[in-house]
Amino acid sequence: MTTENDLETEGPETGRMDHTAELVIANKELALQNDQKEERADELAAANKKLLFQNAEKDKRIAELVIANIELAFQNEEKEKRAAKLINGNAYLDNLIGCANSLIIVWDPQYRITRFNQAFESLTGRRAAGVLGHTLDILFPPDQVKKSMGLLMKPRSGERLEMTEIDILSADGTVHTVLWNSASIFAPDGKTPEATIAQGQDITDRKRAERALEESKALLQSAINIMPVGVWVFNAEGKIVISSAAAQRIWAGVRYVGVDQLGEYKGWRTDSGKPIGAHEWAGARALEKGETSIEEEVEIECFDGTHKIILDSAVPLRKSDGGIGGAITINQDITDRKRAEENIRRLNSELEQRVAARTMQLENINTELEAFCYSVSHDLRAPLRSIDGFSLALLEDYKSRLDTEGQEHLQRIRGGAQRMGVLIDDLLKLSRVARAEFTRDRVDLSALALEIAQELHEAQPERVVDCIIEKGVSADGDARLLRIALDNLIGNAWKFTAKQPLARVEFGAARTGAEMVYFVRDNGAGFDMKYAGKLFSAFQRLHKTEDFPGTGIGLATVQRVVARHGGRVWAEAAPEKGATVFFTLGITKEA
């Protein structure tokens, strides 16, 4: 073609040249055409040969096709046989799936449930209508759908779901925990998922039991932890496996060691001071010998180096066959209690020492006082006797040589000596009242008062005094002291009514609240109440000696007697209108 184009484009330029050239070219062309014809004849001969060969090939292929047909017929037969076999196999699988105890469900790539078995139906109560064709999410409790679907999407990417816990919602709303295994089935290309089959096992009961066990373990631990005592639990191998919060507090830590290493817990018996070896702890003895130990007192060295006193107890834990399956040790921290006891003991002994010292002091003072009183009683009176005795001797033997005034002086000397004698006697009585032993008895005060009144009548028969003694008045007290008090009170009443033409002395009692108030009343000289405060002090007198003799010690003595009974004494009076002295003797049962 390129050549023809070349000739045409050259034509207008070369046409004016001569015709000869055209002929030469035609000859050349013819020669070329002859060559081409010869070439085509060769080609035709070769094509004929090829056709012949092809025909032979065709015959060969026909024969092959015939064979293939025969083979195909045979293969068809085989397929039919295998199809029949497969049908049998599927029935077997159906049975297997249907009767399996495990739950089995099958879903398609769109997560639509295509199949499930009887076990699934029994557990969930779900029937075909509510399940088949639905997506898997209907099987899960609403709050777990997202999580569960996430888990189930894994098999699609080729990953197997193995032993995975997924909760399943039953038709009646109950939830079962199921342990799932699954696998996906792929199309012959090995990539396109066709279905996923999952097999599950209901483990709800097992989970519940596990949870119950966990809860009871937690309960045990918290129960142990709130106990104020330290608790250790040894297992059957003799190893500490549980300890309470208090245990760790007491020991400033805990070592979960076996019985052979118990020596890491350092302790000494408080009674003997002996250190406690690994196998001597109560817990070790419970484990190894089955001993039960109660409150053994032990001084311990805690893990922080401090020392404490504890009570160590232990019991073995028995298995059902009677063998030892562990032990429990209990420690009670009694450090504070021991310290307090020690304090009390020390204080007590100090107190005893102080009481003993004080008692000795008091005994010394008492002894001195005794000696002093003896001396007063004996030595002070002797000179008085001389003064009185020799004054009298003068009066008797030298009367003729003394004028009346001299004799009066001697009489005054004697009077003074005698008054001092009475004063000394009264003072001694007063001190004796304070020191005398005290014995509490039931005392008939009416009888005492009557006796005193009679004595007074006998001593001064010339006096006419109306004594009114209330009958049946009694008190709890010391008979001797009460006699001294009544002696003074009735004696006073007797004395101060001396100038009364119709003298009256009364004794009686009246209850005021819980207290009995006793009284001695007279219609005598009385006194001005503004001096009442002085009444019960020693040596205080409200009357002149010329009018009413006395030492001023009587009412002080009464006051001491009443005080020793835990009572009170007071008086009410008015000048020339009599006086009443009241007294109590502490709380008495009855008058």
């Binding site: 009183c373 003896y374 009683s377 004996h378 030595d379 009176r381 002797a382 000179p383 008085l384 006797r385 001389s386 009185d388 005795g389 020799f390 009298l392 001797a393 004697r414 000596a417 005698q418 001092m420 004698g421 006697d425 001694l428």
Partner: protein, 146 residues
């Protein structure tokens, strides 16, 4: 009055004079021997020391014994007296200024026949001595001699 002697054990000279005066005023004329402390009293009663050789067959009709004495006190004298067979039965009247009850109780415990408190008022004292003299020297039947 019988011839029995009176032994007065008294260390205070004033009391000795007053006691003798009271006895005299009560017309008690018996011989009164006076010793002035406990040791002397025992020597007198047992015929030892200053009184060695004294005739023990004539014991005093009554011993007037003061309690507060130098050297050996009255209670000790009484105890020794009562412990000895020869003096066990001699009547002893304890004279004391003391108002201590213990003295009175101890005196009786040790075998005193009587206790008399010496009052300040001489008239009372004289009366007491008179009664003592009457009782122990006239009314009381002396134990037979040994």
């Amino acid at each position: 009055m019988t011839v029995g002697k009176i032994l007065l054990v008294e260390d205070t000279p004033d009391d000795e004079v007053l006691t003798l005066r009271a006895l005299k005023r009560s017309n008690i004329t018996n011989v009164v021997d006076v010793v002035r402390d406990g040791v002397e009293a025992l020597e007198y009663l047992f015929g030892t020391g200053a009184y060695a050789g004294r005739d023990l067959s004539d014991p005093p009709a009554v011993v007037l014994l003061d309690l507060k004495l130098p050297r050996l006190d009255g209670l000790e004298v009484l105890k020794r007296l009562r412990a000895d067979e020869r003096t066990r039965l001699i009547p002893v009247v304890v004279l004391t200024s003391s108002t201590q009850q213990d003295d009175i109780i101890n005196s009786y415990k040790l075998g005193a026949n009587s206790c008399v408190r010496k009052p300040v008022d001489f008239n009372h004292f004289a009366a007491a001595v008179r009664q003592l003299g009457l009782y122990w020297l006239l009314i009381n039947q002396r134990p037979p001699k040994f």
